[in-house]
């Protein structure tokens, strides 16, 4: 099993004719994702050649894309000034899952978009996230397919390449994943740790979970408490940013220690108190998962 996406996921790419949208559409198609439509306002009627002979119709609006192709998930690669609007358009058009890849979306724009997404009952991942991959089934976003293999571990993370690092080590040790989800590094995001943990908990095939967090906010602490009360599979955690100084944004807009809130120490402490096995180094993640799975 997998969470959020599988072989039946039908993806519309918003910003398909742009540099990033175009590149990653090729990547997704190559991985086997069903990319059924693209959207670029003003380019409706064109066709996007995605390699493998795939010819993807381009529409002016997500509404038309959904109506004509039955797309049920959207991947968003539009530039930051238009990204929040693109999310709202997707939510309004009735897709079930929106994956916001774009980095640099103004936070106040996201407040409104997030409210609409919730009003519409749609799942949003990101923005500023690498997306998600259910190995062997589908990927929506930018996670490199070749570092993943199917298996029993659910991975959820606020970062991109750090997740690749961890997943790659699992894969090299022969430990596969049900789904790897990057929830994004922005202060305001859609799906959070707990949403993913709930999905993994409901997924019969996820036998262990890896949570990769970082400084900033209280999402990791909330997740830890949820794990303690609800999750019966082994959980391995890692927090990046122990050496980050307070008050400075560490790359991710959300990775900032404000006052006493959001320090790595506090998060690690909460992880430990909640029975999460905390990896000191990235390389320890793999070993703790092995231990958790009894391998």
């Amino acid at each position: 099993m997998s969470v959020f996406i599988d072989q039946s996921t039908r993806v519309v790419v918003q910003g398909i004719t742009g540099r990033d949208g175009s590149f990653h559409t090729h990547q997704m198609v190559a991985y086997g994702t069903q990319v059924v439509a693209g959207v670029t306002p003003g380019k409706g009627g064109q066709t996007f050649e995605a390699g493998n002979g795939a010819r993807i119709p381009v529409f002016n609006t997500v509404e038309a894309a959904v109506r004509e192709t039955g797309a049920n998930a959207s991947a968003i690669y539009v530039p930051p000034p238009f990204a929040a609007s693109a999310i709202m358009e997707a939510a309004d058009a009735g897709v079930a899952l929106i994956v916001g890849i774009t980095e640099g979306v103004p936070v106040q724009d996201m407040m409104t978009a997030s409210a609409l997404v919730q009003d519409k009952g749609v799942r949003l991942l990101g923005p500023n996230c690498p997306g998600l991959i259910s190995p062997g089934k589908s990927k929506v976003g930018i996670i490199p397919g070749e570092i993943t293999i199917p298996g029993p571990v659910g991975v959820v993370s606020r970062s991109g390449t750090l997740t690749y690092e961890a997943v790659n080590q699992l894969t090299q040790a022969g430990i596969g994943q049900t789904t790897c989800v990057g929830i994004g590094g922005d202060p305001i995001i859609g799906t959070d740790f707990i949403d993913c943990l709930e999905a993994f908990a409901a997924d019969g095939e996820t036998e262990a979970v890896v949570i990769i967090g970082e400084i900033g906010g209280t999402d990791e602490q909330d997740a830890a408490r949820w794990v303690k009360d609800n999750l019966n599979v082994p959980v391995v955690g890692f927090i990046a940013g122990q050496t980050a100084p307070p008050g400075r944004t560490m790359g991710h807009a959300g990775a900032i220690i404000s006052g006493s809130e959001g320090t790595a120490d506090e998060k690690i402490r909460t992880f430990k108190e909640s029975g999460i096995a905390v990896a000191e180094r990235p390389v320890d993640i793999r070993d703790l998962v092995k231990e958790g799975l009894g391998l």
Partner: protein, 378 residues
């Protein structure tokens, strides 16, 4: 991005918030002139991005234009929390009956603006939150509705008893929210909001942070950026579109991805070293960025070893390798470089580096240990 008090007051004044007049001086002469224009009794306030200006001697009450000159002379050039004061704000002295706090910020957990007000102003609000939490009233704002009139009223009503003051404060709370949304702030604070003996409510100090992601639509606010208020290396990094934060260690780090960059810093520390910086070259495969990154890192004299940690996903390892080779051609790098590259186009990258005389690792753990060792031995 934090902006200066005088800039924040410009935004507040535009929104209609009553702010006493004031002008900025960069010399003691100017400060004296301004003080004279403003009637003699003024406050001279250091304009730096740091809290605790008062305690550091950066805020002085002058009884005459001459005194203003003297204080300005002392404050200009002063160092507060490692920042040199280059500007002072000169503003009239106000008689104060009471000081309150009014602030609004982005509340991550609720994904909404959060107002906080307290009749105990003029001090750090976090301190009030700790010592006397009942003296703070909070109001979350539903972004779909904005701040509703009754919410603004209730906040003002918490500050004052006199209906005349409540009326003024209600208006100011609404205007602060307007300034907050119009300028895409992450924080907008009035502290203190004072009441004068004449019963006027005024904003005496202002603190504002702006979401840099919204600069594309706020050219005026973007121009508020004060390059003096940050290390030169950070200005250069921003120009090159790199995420960079200067730190105090000796291992220069160049990583793709913010999470991996933080994890790399942490691992440097784990193995006994100290990172010299946070640096994320992002997902782009542009060799120019690698060149810029190396220029910035090598310009830091504390750096004794340079550590590359690249996990190729979107970033192609061969591009990074080309950037490293290109950079070593353009600039004379004396500092030892250790490189970890893995993922997309790893083989090509190793070949490029090999030809240029570099060796590369594929394990993060190994390469960090090595960099720490080299830095320690330097």
């Amino acid at each position: 991005m934090d902006i200066h008090e005088y800039q924040a007051k410009e935004l507040f004044t535009e929104a209609g918030i009553p702010v006493p007049p004031g002008e900025v001086a960069t010399t003691a002469d100017e400060a004296e002139d301004i003080a004279r224009r403003l009637g003699g009794r003024v406050v001279v306030k250091a304009q730096v991005h740091a809290g605790g200006r008062g305690k550091a001697g950066g805020v002085k009450l002058a009884d005459s234009p001459e005194a203003a000159r003297e204080y300005a002379s002392a404050i200009l050039g002063m160092e507060i929390k490692e920042l040199i004061v280059k500007k002072v704000l000169v503003t009239p002295v106000e008689d104060i009956v009471s000081e309150a706090y009014v602030g609004v910020l982005i509340d991550r957990a609720n994904q909404a603006p959060l107002f906080m007000v307290s009749p105990e102003g003029g001090v750090d609000i976090e301190q009030v939150a700790e010592t006397n939490p009942d003296a703070i009233r909070k109001q979350s704002v539903d972004p779909r509705y904005g701040l509703l009139p009754h919410q603004a009223y209730a906040l003002a009503d918490f500050l004052y008893d006199d209906p005349k003051l409540v009326r003024q404060a209600t208006k100011i709370v609404g205007q602060l929210y307007d300034a907050f949304t119009k300028n895409s702030c992450s924080l907008a604070e009035i502290n203190p909001l004072i009441v004068t003996p004449q019963g006027e409510v005024k904003a005496i100090d202002a603190k504002v942070s702006i979401d840099e992601n919204a600069f594309y639509r706020l050219p005026r606010v973007e121009a508020y950026r004060d390059l003096d208020a940050e290390p030169e290396s950070e200005s250069r990094a921003r120009e090159a579109e790199l995420s960079y934060v200067k730190l105090d260690g000796n291992v220069g780090c160049c990583v793709n991805g913010a999470g991996l960059a933080m994890a790399t810093m942490d691992l440097v520390k784990y193995y006994g070293g100290e990172p010299a910086n946070f640096l994320d070259i992002g997902g782009s495969s542009n060799p120019d960025k690698v060149v810029a990154a190396l220029q910035i890192i090598t310009a830091d004299p504390s750096v004794k070893a340079i550590l590359f940690n690249i996990f190729g996903g979107i970033t192609r390892c061969d591009d990074v390798a080309n950037g490293i080779v290109e950079a070593t051609r353009r600039i004379d790098i004396k500092t030892p470089i250790v490189i970890r590259l893995t993922g997309t186009n790893e083989a090509e990258a190793l070949e490029i580096l090999g030809e240029a005389g570099f060796s590369a690792h594929t394990s993060m753990d190994e390469v960090v240990q090595k960099a720490v060792q080299i830095a320690a031995q330097a």
